[in-house]
């Protein structure tokens, strides 16, 4: 039942926050914060339990919940937790707290409604990470989309409607592709075995002809590729990230993109082993293109949020490469990259948001010389920019290094090309620092440095990134069973 609570706590907290607005403007914030903290506590307790218990045999889940839902169609309310989903739930709860905290002063309008939407996005995301029924998965997939649309459209910046609609259309079309693939998979399975079901575990062994497997795999891949995002279906991302309020950008970059990566690991690879293996060269190629194209475009941006948004395209390219390279090192790297990118990019959006709140601009050309005025903000931005460029000692380095080393075992060329991304990341990271914080300030502006709340948030993220950089073993250990099942495929076995 604890799994259901993981989803219910934010959902209920959201409704309470909405209702609480009638008492005071501060109440919704505290309710939402309490909700995310409770969620994190639950997740951490699960982690401790998983750590102390013996690893379950393959095919079993650390915790499972299986309730009847729509029996006639073989749809069940089936939730399950393994190492991978545990890590992602932890990330979601942790960054959920950040998302609430970073909206503390920014959102002053329809506060209750804002937190309702925010909490429901989080609930949907956790649902996505826990669902073991494909229909339920699709349900949560849609559930996180709608409140996100409103978050961008109602609390966003100048071009929020354009961005929200674009985000919605991209995700919705690709989501429908996936729905078709889900139903088709269930039908194929039903025809072959006589059991019509949407249950993940039962569908795992579905015999598929190469052509069917290929098309169904593409249906899933399409949905996840848009979310990840993969070049060339990435163009919703810069607009959505830029126009969203800070919390929206944090949730989008740090969590929503991760559902795409999670989908690849949880569904595309295990359900369509052979098709995914034959598709791997294409996917790795797309990943390399994403790494390079995203980082070059980031370098060309003048809007700070847009710049950070394009770095996500680049970094998620590493995830795509790592997932499809399929070696243990690459997969571990991809999972670490999911977490570290979530932390470092979330932090960058928080910092850019804080900067915009103070200066009312995100335009690099209007900033400059801020370091002496706001040294703490400068130092923190420097830290996370260095994280983004993969400086050793921080988690992002371990992640990218593992992805590249694991990819090298499969394709030295792809690894070498993706490594060029490391050079280009230096370009944009250093340019961002110089343009905003170095040089002379245009006029004598007086803005506040980071306050206690903001320092606490960024410091927590710093600690997490350093920890993942110098001792990532707990995360690696948690992911070992999942990675072991993913590498035993035709490609993994060969290595």
């Amino acid at each position: 039942m604890i799994l259901a609570w993981l989803i219910l706590v934010p959902a209920i907290a959201g409704v309470l926050a909405w209702a609480a607005e009638r008492w005071s403007r501060a109440w919704p914030r505290w309710v939402a914060l309490a909700g995310t903290i409770v969620d994190l506590v639950l997740a951490v307790r699960l982690w401790i339990a998983a750590w102390s218990a013996a690893a379950p045999p393959p095919g079993h889940w650390l915790v499972e919940l299986n309730l009847p839902w729509i029996d006639a169609l073989g749809i069940r309310f089936h939730l399950g937790l393994d190492g991978l989903s545990l890590l992602l739930v932890l990330l979601t709860a942790f960054l959920g707290i950040m998302a609430v905290a970073c909206s503390w002063t920014e959102i002053q309008d329809r506060i209750g409604l804002f937190h309702l939407h925010l909490m429901w996005v989080l609930a949907g995301i956790i649902g996505v990470f826990l669902s073991l029924d494909l229909f339920l998965f699709y349900f949560f997939w849609e559930m996180m989309l709608v409140p996100m649309y409103f978050l961008i459209g109602m609390w966003g910046h100048e071009r929020r409607i354009y961005a929200a609609v674009k985000f919605f259309i991209f995700t919705q079309i690709s989501g429908l592709l996936m729905l078709v693939a889900i139903v088709a998979l269930s039908v194929v399975h039903g025809r072959a075995t006589g059991v019509y079901t949407f249950d993940y575990v039962q569908l795992l062994g579905t015999p598929l002809s190469p052509t069917t497997g290929w098309w169904l795999m593409l249906g899933f891949f399409g949905a996840f590729a848009v979310k990840l995002p993969v070049v060339p279906v990435h163009t919703w991302l810069p607009d959505a990230h830029t126009e969203a309020p800070t919390a929206g950008s944090v949730v989008l970059a740090s969590l929503l993109l991760k559902t795409g990566a999670y989908g690849l690991l949880r569904f595309v690879l295990p359900l369509f082993r052979d098709a995914a293996a034959s598709f791997a060269p294409v996917a790795i190629g797309l990943g390399v293109v994403g790494v390079l194209y995203g980082s070059v475009l980031a370098f060309g941006q003048t809007d700070l949020k847009r710049l950070v948004a394009y770095t996500s395209v680049s970094h998620m390219g590493f995830v795509l490469i790592g997932v499809f390279a399929g070696t243990a090192l690459a997969l571990q790297g991809a999972i670490l990259q999911i977490l570290c990118h979530g932390l470092s990019t979330g932090a960058l959006f928080i910092l850019v948001g804080a900067l915009q709140e103070r200066t009312h601009t995100r335009d690099i050309n209007e900033l400059g010389g801020l370091w002496p005025i706001v040294p703490r903000m400068g130092g923190m931005t420097m830290f996370f920019a260095l994280g983004a460029m993969g400086l050793p000692g921080l988690g992002n380095f371990v992640a990218e290094f593992l992805v590249l080393i694991g990819t090298y075992q499969v394709s030295p060329t792809a690894a070498a090309l993706a490594s060029i991304g490391l050079i280009i990341s230096t370009l944009y990271a250093l340019w961002m620092i110089q343009a905003a914080f170095q040089g002379r300030s245009r006029e004598t502006i007086r803005i506040r440095d980071l306050g206690a709340r903001e320092m606490a948030m960024t410091a927590a993220l710093v600690v997490a990134l350093v920890w993942l950089g110098v001792y990532p073993q707990p995360v690696i250990d948690a992911a070992v069973p999942v990675v072991a099942t993913l590498t035993t495929g035709p490609q993994g076995a060969a290595r």
Binding site: P392, I405, Y408, L422, T426, W431, Q438, G439, Q473
Partner: protein, 630 residues
């Protein structure tokens, strides 16, 4: 005591943390105590480790300390582990010893700067990273230190970030070295994939067992490592960042861009020498890179006016000597020159720093002049450093180390007369530009009065380094001059001796005389040109070809121009031209065409019965036609 080894890098890191977290509350004195004190403690521990290290059962004394396993995935298990052997001991002692002197100097030099605490936090972070680099027992941890020192180099070059020139120089340094670092990273991927480990000793053992000399894999591996080395050590073709790096405060140039970080490439190649020995073409390339770099940079040094840029090109050139030595298999000669160079070049930079602040931030040597009476201590120590750089025979450390390189280049089976000749011409250039600098700065007319700011904290390091710039050479006396090869003997368990051709080794005496004469001749010529009224050199410079050459050399042989046009501009152009993401135009097109379709269709919705009736009729006709025809 040996178990304190981990403290040597840890104490500087702790100093960094204290300065970052409490920098503003410490005050000026507190900052200096923490900043200099942490390095002093680390140095004390480093030197205290020497006796127990020497007491280890020899000859190949080794102490390893594994702190924790960084990550464990299958059999990929890089550790956070330190390895102390003869090579890393020498590196550790030089790094800590020079660092503590430069930190002491900086505490006075940076006094009054608003970023006092920031400066020392970066410096401490640098020393910690550098120590990790030299002590790491595996390439992944080495890479951590490698990137860490690169970061500190960037931060400290752009320390005075208000001026975009400085910030740009820092950025350039980081980006150019990162090109090399990326090659190194790919080399690590290759090694980890094919040898299954990044542990340095283990990978060298496996490489020697599994790879045939001259086969493709060791060549690729060594070439990629060389890529990293030329980036960090500012060798051709990635040398362009170092002259600009002089934008940083002078103690930074002394510590990072002369004594320690820029020699990391030399250390890397010496550390992984087995790989290079397995790849003769790459090893030859190391020698050629070194020879070419030392000549090109020597010429450029000859034309600079900024005293720090002279020293920067000189550093590039001297590291070229170290590469030359590595290329001919004279591993320990390279490390020997690294050590003496660390002393005399740090000394020269610190002396230049004194001159610069005494001259009110003037960098142009030709605006100085006549300083030998005003700044006697600086003058004499600078003179000693210059003599050592120019390798004045018998009495200077630079003579012994450079002479060893020249001799090994001549006699090694991998070397030969041509490489030796390049080294000899380089020696002439070295003493020419060095004493040009000395004569222009300290002799001749006095242009302005010094400010009188240098206190004991600045002069003491000069004196100590001056002593070292003389005596450090006596640890390795060649056969003709006492025959006491202590230094190479000490390193022998780690770095094998040169594979010399016995017949050529007999020429030692003649080579030494040649090298000594060249050094003295260079000094004499520069006295003729720059010692007096400089009439000759002024006349010489009027010649058009001399003008063109000078401008070309002054600009570092046009490499900046070339890279600017070939790499920088295209990338910047593309990034800015595609700022609005050409891929999005596809979706704009989709949106536009659906909107156009909507407009076209809604245009038919006119409300006129006639039009609808016509539409129905035409539609009916078309459908009927299709039905009939098919």
């Amino acid at each position: 005591m040996l178990y304190w080894l981990w403290l040597v890098p840890a104490v500087p890191f702790a100093g960094f943390l204290i300065l970052v977290l409490a920098g503003r509350r410490l005050g000026r004195a507190g900052t200096a105590v923490v900043g200099v004190g942490s390095i002093a403690v680390a140095t004390a521990i480093a030197f205290a480790i020497v006796p127990p290290f020497l007491a280890l059962p020899g000859p190949d004394r080794v102490f390893t300390q594994t702190l924790w396993t960084w990550m464990r995935i299958g059999d990929f298990t890089p550790t956070v582990g330190l390895r102390l052997d003869a090579l890393s001991l020498v590196m550790m002692l030089v790094v800590t010893g020079v660092s503590v002197l430069i930190h002491l100097y900086s505490s006075a030099f940076m006094d009054g700067d608003e970023g006092y605490a920031r400066f020392f936090s970066y410096m401490n972070l640098f020393v910690g990273s550098m120590l990790v680099l030299v002590l790491a027992d595996n390439l992944l941890l080495l890479y951590l230190g490698w990137e860490g020192v690169g970061l500190c180099s960037y931060l400290l070059i752009g320390f005075w970030y208000r001026d975009p020139v400085n910030a740009n120089a820092g950025r350039k340094a980081f980006i150019v070295t990162r090109v090399g670092d990326t090659a190194l990273a790919i080399g690590l991927f290759l090694i980890a994939t094919h040898l299954g480990t990044l542990d340095i000793q283990l990978l060298m053992a496996r490489a020697a067992a599994a790879w045939a000399p001259g086969s493709a894999l060791p060549i690729a591996a060594a070439a990629l490592l060389l890529g990293g080395a030329v980036g960090k050590s500012a060798q051709l073709p990635l040398q362009t960042w170092l002259p600009d790096a002089m934008a940083g405060p002078t103690p930074v140039s002394a510590l990072i861009h002369a004594a320690t970080m820029v020699t990391a490439g030399v250390y890397l190649i010496a550390r992984t020498h087995v790989l290079f020995a397995l790849a003769p073409p790459v090893q030859f390339a190391v020698a050629v890179v070194g020879a070419a770099t030392l000549l090109l940079a020597g010429c450029s040094a000859l034309t600079q006016r900024d005293i720090k840029r002279v020293l920067a090109y000189s550093t590039i050139s001297q590291i070229g000597y170290m590469f030359l030595a590595l290329g001919v298999g004279a591993w320990s000669a390279a490390i020997f020159h690294f050590m003496t160079h660390a002393f005399f070049k740090a000394l020269l930079f610190l002396g230049a720093g004194v001159v610069i602040i005494e001259m009110h931030e003037e960098h142009d040597m030709f605006e100085m002049g006549g300083l030998r009476r005003d700044l006697p201590v600086t003058f004499w120590t600078f003179l000693i450093g210059s003599a050592s750089l120019a390798a004045v025979p018998l009495v200077t450390a630079g003579f012994y180390s450079k002479d060893l390189i020249l001799f090994d280049t001549w006699s090694s089976a991998a070397g030969g007369p041509w490489l030796w000749l390049a080294g000899l011409v380089g020696a002439l250039l070295t003493s020419l530009y060095t004493f040009r600098m000395v004569f222009v700065t300290f002799f001749g007319e006095r242009h302005r009065a010094p400010a009188g700011r240098a206190g004991w904290r600045m002069t003491l390091p000069l004196v100590v380094l001056a002593v070292l710039a003389i005596v450090a050479g006596f640890v390795e006396l060649p056969p003709t001059l006492g025959d006491k090869p202590y230094f190479t003997g000490f390193l022998l368990p780690v770095l094998p001796a040169v594979a010399a051709i016995p017949a050529r080794a007999l020429d030692l005496g003649r080579l030494q005389i040649a090298a000594g004469l060249v050094s003295l001749a260079g000094i004499y010529v520069s006295w003729l040109l720059y010692g007096g009224r400089r009439a000759t050199v002024t006349a010489l410079m009027r010649h058009p070809s001399a003008l063109v050459t000078r401008r070309f050399w002054f600009a570092g042989w046009g490499f900046d121009w070339l890279y600017d046009h070939v790499f920088v501009r295209p990338v910047v152009w593309f990034a800015f031209a595609d700022r609005h993401d050409v891929v999005d135009r596809i979706y704009d097109g989709l949106a536009w065409s659906s909107r156009a379709g909507w407009r076209a269709l809604s245009a038919t919705e006119t409300g006129r019965i006639r039009a609808y009736a016509a539409g129905v009729t035409i539609g009916a006709i078309i459908i009927t036609t299709i039905v009939i025809w098919t």
